[in-house]
Protein backbone atom coordinates (compact mmCIF):
# COMPACT_ATOMS: atom_id res chain seq x y z
CA UNK A 1 0.00 0.00 0.00
CA UNK A 2 1.46 3.28 -1.13
CA UNK A 3 0.15 5.81 1.39
CA UNK A 4 1.28 8.82 -0.62
CA UNK A 5 -0.54 7.58 -3.71
CA UNK A 6 -3.69 6.77 -1.70
CA UNK A 7 -3.70 10.27 -0.17
CA UNK A 8 -3.17 11.74 -3.66
CA UNK A 9 -6.17 9.86 -5.09
CA UNK A 10 -8.30 10.68 -2.04
CA UNK A 11 -7.32 14.35 -2.37
CA UNK A 12 -8.59 14.36 -5.95
CA UNK A 13 -11.86 12.78 -4.80
CA UNK A 14 -12.29 15.27 -1.94
CA UNK A 15 -11.27 18.31 -3.99
CA UNK A 16 -13.59 17.75 -6.92
CA UNK A 17 -16.47 16.47 -4.74
CA UNK A 18 -16.19 19.64 -2.68
CA UNK A 19 -16.04 21.77 -5.82
CA UNK A 20 -19.14 20.13 -7.31
CA UNK A 21 -21.13 20.23 -4.06
CA UNK A 22 -20.31 23.86 -3.29
CA UNK A 23 -21.28 24.87 -6.81
CA UNK A 24 -24.62 23.10 -6.32
CA UNK A 25 -25.22 24.49 -2.82
CA UNK A 26 -24.53 28.12 -3.14
CA UNK A 27 -24.47 31.13 -5.31
CA UNK A 28 -24.12 33.32 -2.24
CA UNK A 29 -21.07 35.47 -1.81
CA UNK A 30 -18.91 35.04 1.28
CA UNK A 31 -20.10 38.44 2.56
CA UNK A 32 -23.71 37.23 2.50
CA UNK A 33 -23.05 34.18 4.64
CA UNK A 34 -25.04 33.77 7.81
CA UNK A 35 -23.34 32.31 10.88
CA UNK A 36 -24.89 28.91 10.13
CA UNK A 37 -23.64 28.99 6.52
CA UNK A 38 -20.19 29.74 7.91
CA UNK A 39 -20.32 26.75 10.30
CA UNK A 40 -21.69 24.58 7.48
CA UNK A 41 -18.74 25.53 5.30
CA UNK A 42 -16.22 24.77 8.02
CA UNK A 43 -17.81 21.37 8.77
CA UNK A 44 -17.94 20.32 5.11
CA UNK A 45 -14.32 21.42 4.69
CA UNK A 46 -13.30 19.49 7.78
CA UNK A 47 -15.00 16.31 6.51
CA UNK A 48 -13.23 16.72 3.16
CA UNK A 49 -9.91 17.06 5.00
CA UNK A 50 -10.45 13.85 6.96
CA UNK A 51 -11.55 12.10 3.75
CA UNK A 52 -8.15 13.01 2.34
CA UNK A 53 -5.81 12.03 5.13
CA UNK A 54 -7.63 9.71 7.51
CA UNK A 55 -6.44 6.43 6.00
CA UNK A 56 -7.54 4.47 9.10
CA UNK A 57 -11.08 4.48 7.74
CA UNK A 58 -12.43 4.09 4.22
CA UNK A 59 -13.07 7.10 1.98
CA UNK A 60 -16.69 6.08 1.52
CA UNK A 61 -18.13 6.93 5.00
CA UNK A 62 -16.41 10.34 4.88
CA UNK A 63 -17.85 10.93 1.44
CA UNK A 64 -21.33 9.98 2.67
CA UNK A 65 -20.86 12.53 5.50
CA UNK A 66 -19.78 15.12 2.95
CA UNK A 67 -22.73 14.57 0.61
CA UNK A 68 -25.19 14.43 3.55
CA UNK A 69 -24.03 17.79 4.92
CA UNK A 70 -24.06 19.27 1.43
CA UNK A 71 -27.55 17.87 0.73
CA UNK A 72 -28.86 19.22 4.05
CA UNK A 73 -27.33 22.60 3.30
CA UNK A 74 -29.03 22.56 -0.10
CA UNK A 75 -32.31 21.47 1.50
CA UNK A 76 -32.11 24.35 3.98
CA UNK A 77 -31.55 26.75 1.11
CA UNK A 78 -34.61 25.46 -0.75
CA UNK A 79 -36.73 25.59 2.44
CA UNK A 80 -35.66 29.15 3.23
CA UNK A 81 -36.44 30.19 -0.34
CA UNK A 82 -39.93 28.65 -0.28
CA UNK A 83 -41.03 29.53 3.26
CA UNK A 84 -40.26 32.99 4.51
CA UNK A 85 -41.29 32.12 8.07
CA UNK A 86 -38.81 29.23 8.21
CA UNK A 87 -36.15 31.50 6.72
CA UNK A 88 -36.68 33.94 9.58
CA UNK A 89 -36.37 31.15 12.14
CA UNK A 90 -33.29 29.60 10.53
CA UNK A 91 -31.39 32.62 9.32
CA UNK A 92 -32.63 35.27 11.69
CA UNK A 93 -33.92 38.64 10.65
CA UNK A 94 -32.56 42.16 10.57
CA UNK A 95 -32.62 43.91 13.95
CA UNK A 96 -33.02 47.67 14.30
CA UNK A 97 -30.44 48.75 16.88
CA UNK A 98 -30.67 52.52 16.39
CA UNK A 99 -34.06 54.04 15.72
CA UNK A 100 -34.55 57.78 15.22
CA UNK A 101 -31.05 58.28 16.60
CA UNK A 102 -31.73 56.33 19.79
CA UNK A 103 -29.94 53.10 20.69
CA UNK A 104 -32.34 50.20 21.27
CA UNK A 105 -30.76 48.50 24.29
CA UNK A 106 -33.20 45.57 24.38
CA UNK A 107 -32.68 44.82 20.68
CA UNK A 108 -28.90 44.97 21.21
CA UNK A 109 -29.11 42.52 24.10
CA UNK A 110 -31.29 40.17 22.07
CA UNK A 111 -28.86 40.26 19.16
CA UNK A 112 -25.97 39.75 21.64
CA UNK A 113 -24.10 42.81 20.40
CA UNK A 114 -22.27 45.25 22.63
CA UNK A 115 -22.53 48.98 22.06
CA UNK A 116 -18.79 48.95 21.34
CA UNK A 117 -19.45 46.42 18.53
CA UNK A 118 -22.03 48.76 17.00
CA UNK A 119 -19.68 51.75 17.29
CA UNK A 120 -16.94 49.68 15.62
CA UNK A 121 -19.25 48.61 12.77
CA UNK A 122 -20.29 52.25 12.38
CA UNK A 123 -16.67 53.36 12.17
CA UNK A 124 -16.12 50.68 9.50
CA UNK A 125 -18.72 52.52 7.46
CA UNK A 126 -17.04 55.87 8.03
CA UNK A 127 -19.44 57.08 10.71
CA UNK A 128 -17.54 58.29 13.78
CA UNK A 129 -20.32 60.22 15.49
CA UNK A 130 -23.52 58.40 16.60
CA UNK A 131 -25.30 61.75 16.26
CA UNK A 132 -25.15 61.33 12.48
CA UNK A 133 -27.15 58.09 12.54
CA UNK A 134 -30.90 58.00 12.10
CA UNK A 135 -31.33 54.25 11.71
CA UNK A 136 -28.90 51.36 12.14
CA UNK A 137 -29.82 47.77 11.37
CA UNK A 138 -27.89 44.58 12.06
CA UNK A 139 -28.53 42.43 9.01
CA UNK A 140 -28.86 38.64 9.33
CA UNK A 141 -25.30 38.26 8.00
CA UNK A 142 -24.00 40.37 10.93
CA UNK A 143 -23.24 43.50 8.94
CA UNK A 144 -24.50 46.91 9.98
CA UNK A 145 -26.56 49.01 7.60
CA UNK A 146 -26.77 52.71 8.41
CA UNK A 147 -29.19 55.40 7.36
CA UNK A 148 -27.74 58.79 8.22
CA UNK A 149 -29.85 61.71 9.35
CA UNK A 150 -30.98 63.88 6.45
CA UNK A 151 -28.67 66.75 7.44
CA UNK A 152 -25.64 64.43 7.24
CA UNK A 153 -26.41 62.95 3.82
CA UNK A 154 -24.24 64.18 0.95
CA UNK A 155 -25.68 66.58 -1.60
CA UNK A 156 -26.62 64.86 -4.84
CA UNK A 157 -26.88 66.19 -8.40
CA UNK A 158 -30.66 65.97 -8.02
CA UNK A 159 -30.55 68.26 -4.96
CA UNK A 160 -28.59 70.80 -6.98
CA UNK A 161 -30.70 70.31 -10.13
CA UNK A 162 -27.61 69.43 -12.17
CA UNK A 163 -28.48 67.29 -15.21
CA UNK A 164 -26.77 63.92 -15.17
CA UNK A 165 -26.17 61.26 -17.77
CA UNK A 166 -25.85 57.58 -17.03
CA UNK A 167 -22.34 56.50 -17.85
CA UNK A 168 -23.04 52.75 -18.05
CA UNK A 169 -20.61 49.93 -17.51
CA UNK A 170 -17.32 49.71 -19.35
CA UNK A 171 -16.78 46.68 -21.56
CA UNK A 172 -13.38 45.10 -22.21
CA UNK A 173 -12.37 45.22 -25.86
CA UNK A 174 -8.76 44.08 -25.45
CA UNK A 175 -7.62 41.98 -22.52
CA UNK A 176 -3.96 41.06 -22.08
CA UNK A 177 -3.17 41.89 -25.71
CA UNK A 178 -6.04 39.82 -27.12
CA UNK A 179 -9.00 41.34 -28.97
CA UNK A 180 -12.44 40.27 -27.68
CA UNK A 181 -14.47 40.47 -30.89
CA UNK A 182 -17.71 39.43 -29.19
CA UNK A 183 -17.68 42.56 -27.01
CA UNK A 184 -16.75 44.73 -30.00
CA UNK A 185 -19.78 43.44 -31.92
CA UNK A 186 -21.99 43.99 -28.86
CA UNK A 187 -21.10 47.72 -28.91
CA UNK A 188 -21.66 47.93 -32.71
CA UNK A 189 -18.00 48.63 -33.38
CA UNK A 190 -15.50 46.84 -35.59
CA UNK A 191 -11.80 46.14 -35.63
CA UNK A 192 -11.08 49.02 -38.04
CA UNK A 193 -12.67 51.49 -35.63
CA UNK A 194 -10.55 50.11 -32.78
CA UNK A 195 -7.35 50.27 -34.87
CA UNK A 196 -8.09 53.91 -35.74
CA UNK A 197 -8.58 54.71 -32.05
CA UNK A 198 -5.31 52.96 -31.19
CA UNK A 199 -3.42 54.69 -34.03
CA UNK A 200 -4.65 58.05 -32.71
CA UNK A 201 -2.78 57.18 -29.49
CA UNK A 202 0.33 56.13 -31.43
CA UNK A 203 -0.29 52.37 -31.14
CA UNK A 204 0.16 50.22 -34.24
CA UNK A 205 -0.75 46.78 -32.98
CA UNK A 206 -3.26 45.29 -30.54
CA UNK A 207 -0.49 43.21 -29.00
CA UNK A 208 1.02 46.46 -27.66
CA UNK A 209 -1.95 47.12 -25.37
CA UNK A 210 -2.72 45.44 -22.08
CA UNK A 211 -6.28 46.66 -21.65
CA UNK A 212 -8.84 48.62 -23.69
CA UNK A 213 -12.30 49.34 -22.30
CA UNK A 214 -15.18 51.30 -23.75
CA UNK A 215 -18.28 52.58 -22.00
CA UNK A 216 -21.64 53.17 -23.73
CA UNK A 217 -20.94 56.92 -23.71
CA UNK A 218 -17.99 56.33 -26.03
CA UNK A 219 -15.25 56.99 -23.49
CA UNK A 220 -12.30 54.72 -24.25
CA UNK A 221 -9.57 53.68 -21.78
CA UNK A 222 -6.29 52.37 -23.17
CA UNK A 223 -3.40 50.92 -21.16
CA UNK A 224 -0.20 49.87 -22.92
CA UNK A 225 2.26 47.24 -21.74
CA UNK A 226 4.98 49.88 -22.04
CA UNK A 227 4.08 52.44 -19.39
CA UNK A 228 7.12 54.75 -19.83
CA UNK A 229 7.19 55.43 -16.12
CA UNK A 230 10.76 55.53 -14.90
CA UNK A 231 10.23 56.54 -11.28
CA UNK A 232 7.58 54.39 -9.62
CA UNK A 233 6.14 55.69 -6.37
CA UNK A 234 6.77 53.24 -3.53
CA UNK A 235 3.97 53.29 -0.97
CA UNK A 236 5.69 50.78 1.34
CA UNK A 237 6.56 52.19 4.77
CA UNK A 238 9.23 49.61 5.52
CA UNK A 239 11.99 48.17 3.38
CA UNK A 240 10.90 44.65 2.41
CA UNK A 241 12.50 41.87 0.40
CA UNK A 242 11.36 43.17 -3.01
Amino acid sequence: MNEGLVVFVRSIIAFFSLLIFTRIIGKEQISQLTFFDYVLGITIGSIAASLTTDLASRAWPHWVGLITWAALGYLMEIVTLKWRYVAKVLEGEPVIVIMNGKIMEKALKKAKYRVSDILELMRNQGVFDPNEVDFAIIESNGQLSILKKAEHLPVTRKDMNIPAQNSGISTELVYDGILIEENLRQLNKDKDWLMNELKAQGINSISEVFLVTLNPEGSIYIDKYDDHITKITDIGDYKGPF
Binding site: S57, A59, W60
Partner: protein
Amino acid sequence: MRRFLIIAIPLATIILFLVVMLSGNYLKQPLGKNDDIPGLIEVLIKDIQDEQWEKVSQKAEELDQAWEKVVFRIQFSAERNEINNISVALARLKGAILEKDRLSAIMELKEAYEHWRQLCQ
Protein backbone atom coordinates in the same frame (compact mmCIF):
# COMPACT_ATOMS: atom_id res chain seq x y z
CA MET B 1 -23.90 20.67 -26.07
CA ARG B 2 -22.22 22.96 -23.54
CA ARG B 3 -25.15 22.61 -21.15
CA PHE B 4 -25.00 18.85 -21.52
CA LEU B 5 -21.27 18.85 -20.70
CA ILE B 6 -21.82 21.11 -17.69
CA ILE B 7 -24.07 18.43 -16.22
CA ALA B 8 -22.39 15.34 -17.69
CA ILE B 9 -18.82 16.09 -16.56
CA PRO B 10 -19.61 16.51 -12.82
CA LEU B 11 -21.98 13.54 -12.98
CA ALA B 12 -19.35 11.33 -14.64
CA THR B 13 -16.78 12.54 -12.08
CA ILE B 14 -19.04 11.63 -9.16
CA ILE B 15 -19.77 8.20 -10.69
CA LEU B 16 -16.03 7.60 -11.15
CA PHE B 17 -15.40 8.55 -7.50
CA LEU B 18 -18.16 6.18 -6.37
CA VAL B 19 -16.61 3.36 -8.39
CA VAL B 20 -13.16 4.03 -6.88
CA MET B 21 -14.56 4.21 -3.32
CA LEU B 22 -16.91 1.24 -3.53
CA SER B 23 -14.93 -1.14 -5.74
CA GLY B 24 -13.04 -2.66 -2.78
CA ASN B 25 -15.69 -5.24 -1.96
CA TYR B 26 -15.50 -6.56 -5.52
CA LEU B 27 -11.74 -6.23 -5.91
CA LYS B 28 -10.94 -8.18 -2.73
CA GLN B 29 -12.60 -11.25 -4.25
CA PRO B 30 -10.43 -13.62 -6.34
CA LEU B 31 -10.21 -12.20 -9.87
CA GLY B 32 -7.17 -13.90 -11.37
CA LYS B 33 -4.57 -16.52 -10.55
CA ASN B 34 -3.21 -16.91 -7.01
CA ASP B 35 -5.31 -14.20 -5.35
CA ASP B 36 -7.96 -16.33 -3.65
CA ILE B 37 -7.51 -15.29 -0.01
CA PRO B 38 -10.47 -17.21 1.53
CA GLY B 39 -9.67 -20.27 -0.61
CA LEU B 40 -6.02 -20.30 0.52
CA ILE B 41 -7.04 -19.81 4.17
CA GLU B 42 -9.38 -22.80 3.89
CA VAL B 43 -6.65 -25.00 2.36
CA LEU B 44 -4.16 -23.84 5.01
CA ILE B 45 -6.49 -24.70 7.88
CA LYS B 46 -6.99 -28.19 6.45
CA ASP B 47 -3.23 -28.70 5.97
CA ILE B 48 -2.49 -27.45 9.50
CA GLN B 49 -5.07 -29.82 10.94
CA ASP B 50 -3.35 -32.64 8.99
CA GLU B 51 0.02 -31.29 10.27
CA GLN B 52 1.54 -31.21 6.77
CA TRP B 53 4.01 -28.44 7.74
CA GLU B 54 6.01 -28.46 4.48
CA LYS B 55 2.86 -27.84 2.48
CA VAL B 56 1.60 -25.33 5.06
CA SER B 57 4.80 -23.31 4.76
CA GLN B 58 4.50 -23.17 0.97
CA LYS B 59 0.80 -22.26 1.08
CA ALA B 60 1.48 -19.52 3.67
CA GLU B 61 3.97 -17.99 1.23
CA GLU B 62 1.31 -18.14 -1.51
CA LEU B 63 -1.19 -16.50 0.84
CA ASP B 64 1.30 -13.71 1.52
CA GLN B 65 1.77 -13.08 -2.20
CA ALA B 66 -1.97 -13.22 -2.84
CA TRP B 67 -2.48 -10.67 -0.07
CA GLU B 68 0.10 -8.32 -1.67
CA LYS B 69 -1.85 -8.49 -4.94
CA VAL B 70 -5.19 -7.81 -3.25
CA VAL B 71 -3.79 -4.89 -1.21
CA PHE B 72 -2.57 -3.25 -4.42
CA ARG B 73 -6.08 -3.48 -5.89
CA ILE B 74 -8.07 -2.35 -2.87
CA GLN B 75 -5.74 0.33 -1.49
CA PHE B 76 -7.93 3.26 -2.63
CA SER B 77 -11.15 1.88 -1.18
CA ALA B 78 -10.06 -0.02 1.92
CA GLU B 79 -9.29 1.13 5.44
CA ARG B 80 -5.65 1.07 6.51
CA ASN B 81 -6.48 -0.51 9.89
CA GLU B 82 -8.03 -3.67 8.42
CA ILE B 83 -5.16 -3.99 5.94
CA ASN B 84 -2.67 -3.72 8.81
CA ASN B 85 -4.61 -6.24 10.90
CA ILE B 86 -4.49 -8.84 8.12
CA SER B 87 -0.77 -8.20 7.50
CA VAL B 88 -0.06 -8.62 11.23
CA ALA B 89 -2.13 -11.84 11.40
CA LEU B 90 -0.19 -13.25 8.43
CA ALA B 91 3.14 -12.33 10.07
CA ARG B 92 2.05 -14.09 13.28
CA LEU B 93 0.95 -17.09 11.21
CA LYS B 94 4.50 -17.41 9.86
CA GLY B 95 5.80 -17.51 13.45
CA ALA B 96 3.27 -20.18 14.44
CA ILE B 97 4.22 -22.27 11.38
CA LEU B 98 7.91 -21.94 12.26
CA GLU B 99 7.18 -23.36 15.72
CA LYS B 100 4.66 -25.86 14.26
CA ASP B 101 2.07 -24.46 16.67
CA ARG B 102 -1.28 -25.75 15.35
CA LEU B 103 -3.50 -23.80 17.71
CA SER B 104 -1.88 -20.38 17.12
CA ALA B 105 -1.70 -20.92 13.35
CA ILE B 106 -5.41 -21.71 13.10
CA MET B 107 -6.27 -18.77 15.38
CA GLU B 108 -4.28 -16.37 13.20
CA LEU B 109 -5.88 -17.71 10.03
CA LYS B 110 -9.37 -17.36 11.48
CA GLU B 111 -8.55 -13.80 12.55
CA ALA B 112 -7.15 -12.97 9.11
CA TYR B 113 -10.32 -14.36 7.51
CA GLU B 114 -12.53 -12.28 9.78
CA HIS B 115 -10.56 -9.11 8.92
CA TRP B 116 -10.74 -10.00 5.23
CA ARG B 117 -14.53 -10.40 5.58
CA GLN B 118 -14.79 -6.99 7.28
CA LEU B 119 -12.55 -5.34 4.69
CA CYS B 120 -14.35 -2.70 2.57
CA GLN B 121 -17.67 -3.44 4.30
